[in-house]
């Protein structure tokens, strides 16, 4: 399930060789992300996401967590950064999708790797702890994200990382 992916590192560029199945998994998964956080009807503001049903609201709250526990500073943070964070995520997701359409491996410089790490992480949140296929996709997204991170920062592989707790694939 979900497809093969190979990474090659050349100086400050990472090349992702993706099987067609991997490309399709990414298109579908990131497509779902855009479905939830993509362009909204004109005039709709970030805080209006609170009108969404409970499940979507919970997911968005995890994607864009409160910086402050409560009060006016929390609202001010959302006003200052909420829409920007959403816009940047949507833009990065759209670039990722566009990069899948070209022939050959996907070429990522460091900034593009950052965008992949961000988009893969947030896309994972779309897949809640539901039926098994969704969990498998979430786990696969986690694996791809991890391989990208270690391709850029191989030193992190030398640390003794916990194997439970922070490695769960589901929110």
């Amino acid at each position: 399930m979900t497809g093969d992916i190979e990474l090659f590192v050349d100086e400050e560029t990472v090349y992702l060789k993706l099987s067609e199945q991997a490309r399709q998994t990414l298109r579908e998964a990131v497509g779902w992300l855009l479905h939830y956080v993509g362009p909204w009807p004109e005039g709709q503001k970030f805080l209006e996401r609170l009108r969404y049903p409970g499940q979507r609201m919970s997911m968005l709250a995890r994607m864009f967590p409160q910086a402050y526990p409560y009060g006016p500073t929390a609202a001010e943070f959302h006003q200052r950064f909420g829409e920007l964070l959403r816009f940047n995520l949507v833009s990065a997701a759209q670039r990722l999708l566009a990069s899948l359409d070209g022939p050959g491996p996907v070429r990522c410089d460091l900034d593009a790797v950052d965008e992949w790490v961000m988009v893969l992480g947030q896309t994972r949140l779309v897949y809640g702890p539901r039926e098994r296929p969704a969990v498998e996709v979430a786990a696969w997204l986690t694996r791809v994200q991890q391989e990208l991170v270690l391709a850029v920062q191989p030193e992190l592989a030398t640390w003794s990382f916990p194997t439970t707790g922070t490695t769960s694939a589901t929110p």
Binding site: M63, P65, Q66, L156
Partner: protein
């Protein structure tokens, strides 16, 4: 006042991803980033910076949140 930027442990991000985000956002040495990620994992939260002004604390928090980290700010008098 001091704005303390905190990263909370979560059940979503891998240890390496948290450390990677800290390296990229804060230009933190890998060993420091890994130590902070470990602290978040073991104690539930790690302070990754303290600022005397609100703006830089919020900008860094927003960048960490963009990586999917559960980052927040605690204001101390």
């Amino acid at each position: 006042m001091t704005w303390r930027v905190l990263v909370h442990n979560d059940a979503i991000n891998s240890f390496a991803t948290v450390a990677y985000a800290l390296v990229r956002v804060l230009s933190m040495p890998v060993e420091h980033a890994a130590a902070a990620a470990r602290q978040a994992y073991e104690s539930g939260v790690a302070e990754i910076g303290a600022y005397t002004e609100r703006e830089p604390a919020e900008a860094i928090t927003a960048r960490l949140q963009a990586f999917g980290l559960n980052a927040s700010i605690e204001v101390a008098a």
